[in-house]
């Protein structure tokens, strides 16, 4: 077990290195660099910038150095905990990400909860009443969220909420509450705003979950022990929950690993449409402006979480599911 862990961690490092190179390339791929985006933006407003200042800025930001040097500079600082400096905000990256991270985590947490709440009953019903019209109907509803393009759905919900409920458009709460300490009003406002992203992002995740639950449950339900239990007089409900469901829930545990990165990246497109102060829009804007350190460090952070997540879920599965343990042993 320990050996397994150690070897996995050892292979993680070259993977992470490869990822960091890839990320760096990704950010540098679009032609130009941050300064060019900045200048073009100014000019589109009719403002202009001193050409001398541009040269000075370029040297200042280190954008005139060769790419390899820039990469090394970034990655060597990153591992020491210095995530770099954002050109756009002119502040260290860590400062900018800080607040937004919390909001992202909270939103994601509730969204995932919402997804589970919907997917669970539908998945179970679908497995136990296979091919019934109820099954079709519920699955249809469950999959609808996946099928509707998120950005359009979010926009429509925004408009509907504003017109029929008077909710202010976009953001996590009404603007008046932004700087104020927590109060009932503020909480109410946040809830009013939060149901839209929860609905939009949550429903798009239900399909996958329903499918997994249904498939796993079906596999279990047709096993002989279930038949035996039924013959011996166990109630259907108990028959369902005591063993098959537990088996089928394995994948939840396995999924915990991939939860981490999804929690943090927070459904970027929907957040952009809804103008939420989460990390998604930040990342998108940084990528478009080629704000190298902000985008790069954040992506690296996400990648790190994903890799760690995969490791965590593998380990958890190993611990939780004895079959995997014994399978390995028998080899």
């Amino acid at each position: 077990m320990i050996r397994y862990l150690l070897t996995r961690i050892a292979t993680m490092i070259p993977t992470l290195l490869a990822i960091s190179v890839l990320i760096f390339i990704i950010i540098q791929l679009p032609p130009g660099d941050y300064l060019e985006t900045y200048i073009a933006e100014l000019e589109s407003q009719g403002e202009s910038i001193d050409p001398q200042k541009i040269a000075a800025l370029r040297a200042d930001y280190g954008l005139d150095k060769p790419l390899a040097v820039q990469y090394w500079h970034w990655i060597s600082n990153f591992v020491q905990g210095d995530y770099g400096y954002s050109f756009e905000y002119e502040r260290p990256v860590a400062e900018i990400m800080g607040d937004r991270l919390w909001l992202t985590i909270i939103l994601s947490f509730f969204t995932i909860l919402f997804t589970w709440l919907i997917a669970f009953p539908i998945g179970i019903y679908s497995a136990t009443h296979k091919y019934s019209w109820g099954d079709y109907g519920l699955t249809f509803v469950g999959f609808l969220g996946l099928a509707i393009p998120n950005f359009l759905f979010a926009l429509i919900m925004l408009y509907v909420a504003n017109r029929y409920f008077g909710t202010s458009i976009g953001g996590m709460m009404d603007p008046e509450y932004l700087d104020q300490p927590w109060s009932w009003g503020k909480l109410k406002s946040v809830l009013e705003h939060m149901w839209i992203p929860m609905l939009v992002i949550g429903t798009s995740g239900t399909a996958a979950m329903i499918r997994r639950l249904r498939a796993n449950l079906l596999d279990e339900l047709h096993k002989p022990y279930v038949l035996t239990a039924r013959a011996k007089g166990m109630s259907e409900v108990k028959n369902l929950t005591k063993y098959p469901l537990r088996m089928a829930l394995n994948f939840f545990i396995a999924d915990i690993g991939s939860l981490l990165p999804s929690v943090v990246s927070g459904a970027e497109i929907v957040a952009v449409v809804l103008s939420l102060p989460t990390t998604g829009p930040l990342l998108l804007a940084a990528l478009q402006a080629q704000d190298m350190y902000l985008a790069g460090s954040f992506l690296m952070f996400l990648a790190l979480l994903t890799v760690i997540g995969m490791l965590v879920s593998d380990v958890l599965l190993f611990l939780v599911d004895p079959r995997i343990r014994f399978q390995k042993a028998s080899k």
Binding site: P30, P31, G32, E36, T37, A40, E41, E43, S44, Q45, G46, E47, S48, D50, P51, Q52, K53, A55, A56, D60, Y85, E88, Y89, E90, R91, P92, E95, I96, D99, L158, Y159, N162, S168, I169, G170, G171, P175, L178, D179, V272, V273, L274, S275, P277, P281, A285
Partner: protein, 630 residues
């Protein structure tokens, strides 16, 4: 004449002083005044505050918060633009008036003597004096570590720097050997040339005034890269990113970035008053809420902004107007824009392909292309017929306007266009498309930045009419930077961008945009580059050379009549030579306001330079009528 205006001034000042003496304090500051934190109005205002430009406006009441929406945190610099507190400022008739300055003496556009207002204070209460100018000149602009390239480009005439002298505590002088007619427009610009810095604040970060250890300590404390970066961060006046930096604008920022909401509070030492002596601004706080740009029209429509023109376009007008009628929470005004052409087509005279270069340089070709555009249809389809069909030139309410400029080659005449092209020897093939001598088809690929629906739509419509004269049009959408690069390198044969940035110039403003002066001019990037850096080759078309000459002549000109003549000639050359194909101008800009907001003109021009968007319309005089008042 002089005596008369002198008497006028004295009279006005006398009246004003008595008014000020009786004027009430803004209630927002009352508590601070009572506790002694702030001095009284009389002491806060300069001896002679600025009182002009409000005759046509109503006298407002103090109070209220103005909510604005912006798309990015960088946009808070708009408060410097809207606030428009400048040494010299343009009034609503585009005339230069002293604003922060009490008086400016201009000798021949070479020697400028600036007189400051005695008793004028920064927003933190310290006096604004000649020392702030001297600090800028000696310790910033000419201090090599902070300005490795020296003072800003706008201060150099032919590479020469001016002579700067401090006459007394409230008077400074800049003198050049050759005329610098750009100087005044630059200091009055929306993004102005700053000649001063708050010396008392910045000296604490400057190595000449503070010991090295202290500087190092500061760098460490603030986690800055080095002291220069720290200094620049602290000193940024235009961008409003340092809440502690004293300012002369009507409101100052109190929120540090990053934030979702910025709060600007009134500047207690603001130097302007209304005609009853009340200190401006009327509104106590301005809050800027950040929201994604696509949501801003929706938010404005539901009343979340009290004054919004940014990020709103004609596309949103129907929605906003419907919202206005239904909810009565907003009021929608339609202002004019002042671009020479909302969108203009730029043939690239420096295209790298020799055939194309030759063809584009032939004026007949450009004229034919311009004639083959049905501007009326464009106007009807896209702007409901409310805009103006015109070439890329100045607008009617500009003194330099002439109908011939607007109509030059801007009619819709397929026959004449065909005749011109036939004349050039471009024969049609069997498919109706014209060919070059070497058999290549006249397929024009127009590069656009692809950001606005308007552009794509107009090009769709133009495609059809150009087909009728045997030219095929393809649109290629690119990122802005890529577009510019392709134009510079000559790969792009034709591009699309906005027309003249300033459609309402006076002869006193620089005609540089009409001559090859900058590399980013899409019709002659190589010649523009030559003018900027000296690299490459100079213009080789006589008319373009003439434009460059005229531009130089303007910079050296000594009187208004000369400048007027120069402008007229330059505009005429453009009209005849069709260096850019204008389509539509005079489009409208919707402005959404809170119905209670007063002093906002029903109809005005919304333009960056000149205009500073809301600047020349006196943003500081807007006020909110209390709710329930008649």
């Amino acid at each position: 004449m002089i005596l008369k205006s002198l008497i006028h001034s004295i009279f006005a000042i006398a009246l004003l002083s008595s008014a000020v003496a009786q004027a009430s304090e803004p209630p927002y500051l009352q508590a601070q005044i009572d506790s002694g934190e702030l001095p009284t109005l009389y002491e806060r205002l300069p001896d002679i505050p600025a009182f002009g430009g409000t005759e046509h406006l109503s006298v407002g009441q103090y109070g209220g918060t103005l909510r604005l929406l912006m798309a990015k945190s960088k946009d808070i610099r708009m408060m410097t633009v809207y606030g428009y507190s400048r040494l010299m400022a343009l009034d609503k008739n585009l005339q230069l008036q002293p604003d922060i300055l009490l008086r400016l003496e201009n000798e021949d556009n070479r020697v400028f003597t600036l007189h400051l207002r005695k008793g004028h204070r920064w927003s933190d209460g310290e006096l604004f004096t000649a020392e702030d100018f001297r600090f800028f000149w000696d310790d910033v602009a000419n201090f090599e570590p902070l300005s490795p390239y020296g003072p800003p480009q706008a201060m150099k005439v032919d590479g020469q720097l001016p002579e700067f002298s401090v006459i007394d505590d409230y008077t400074v002088r800049f003198s050049w050997k050759d005329p610098n007619p750009n100087f005044l427009p630059e200091i009055a610009g929306p993004s102005p040339l700053y000649l001063y810095r708050p010396a008392h604040y910045l000296k604490a970060y400057h190595p000449r005034y503070v010991s090295e250890e202290q500087i190092e300590q500061q760098v460490e404390d603030t986690n800055s890269k080095n002291w220069r970066k720290l200094f620049h961060n602290k000193a940024r006046q235009y961008k409003f990113t340092n809440p502690d930096l004293p300012t002369l604008q009507p409101w100052y920022n109190t929120t540090a970035i990053p934030a979702e909401r910025f709060v600007f509070k009134r500047n207690p030492y603001f130097h302007r008053v209304d005609r009853e002596g009340q200190q401006l601004p009327y509104i106590d706080e301005v809050t800027i809420q950040l929201a994604s740009s696509s949501l801003i029209p929706a938010k404005a429509g539901s009343g979340e902004s009290d004054l919004q023109a940014r990020n709103i376009s004609m596309d949103d007008y129907t929605f906003l107007k419907s919202a206005e009628q239904e909810s009565k929470k907003i009021k929608v005004l339609l202002w004019d824009t002042a671009l020479g052409s909302q969108i203009a087509i730029y043939p690239n005279l420096n295209a790298s392909d020799p055939q194309w270069r030759e063809t584009l340089r032939d004026v007949r070709f450009r004229r034919a292309l311009s004639l083959a555009i049905n501007r009326h249809e464009l106007n009807q389809v896209i702007y409901f017929g409310l805009a103006r069909e015109s070439a890329n030139t100045v607008l009617p309410h500009c003194p330099l306007f002439d109908t011939s400029l607007k109509d030059a080659w801007a009619g819709f005449d397929i026959e004449q266009a065909n005749a011109l092209l036939d004349d050039m020897g471009l024969e049609r093939g069997s498919d109706g498309i014209r060919r070059f001598a070497d058999g290549r088809k006249l397929d024009i690929i127009i590069q656009t930045a692809g950001e606005k629906n308007e552009e794509t739509d107009m090009l769709e419509l133009i495609k059809d009419t150009w087909r009728q004269v045997g030219i095929r049009l393809y649109t290629k959408a690119l990122q802005r930077e890529v577009l510019r690069n392709r134009v510079f390198s000559g790969q792009a044969v034709m591009s699309v961008w906005m027309g003249l940035p300033n459609g309402i110039p006076t002869a006193e403003m620089s005609p540089a945009s009409l001559a090859p002066t900058r590399q980013d001019q899409l019709q002659w990037p190589a010649w523009g580059r030559y003018a900027e850096t000296g690299e490459g080759s100079p213009p080789d078309i006589p008319e373009v050379q003439r434009l460059a000459e005229l531009n130089d002549a303007w910079t050296m000109s000594s009187n208004s009549a000369q400048r007027l003549a120069i402008w007229d000639e330059m505009l005429k050359i453009h009209a005849e030579q069709v260096y850019s194909i204008g389509l539509i101008n005079g489009t409208l800009q919707p402005v959404v306001i809170n119905p209670r907001l007063q002093n906002v003109p029903e109809k005005a021009v919304y333009n960056w330079d000149p205009g500073a968007f809301f600047g020349i319309h006196r943003f500081d005089t807007f006020w909110l009528k209390p709710e329930g008042a008649s």
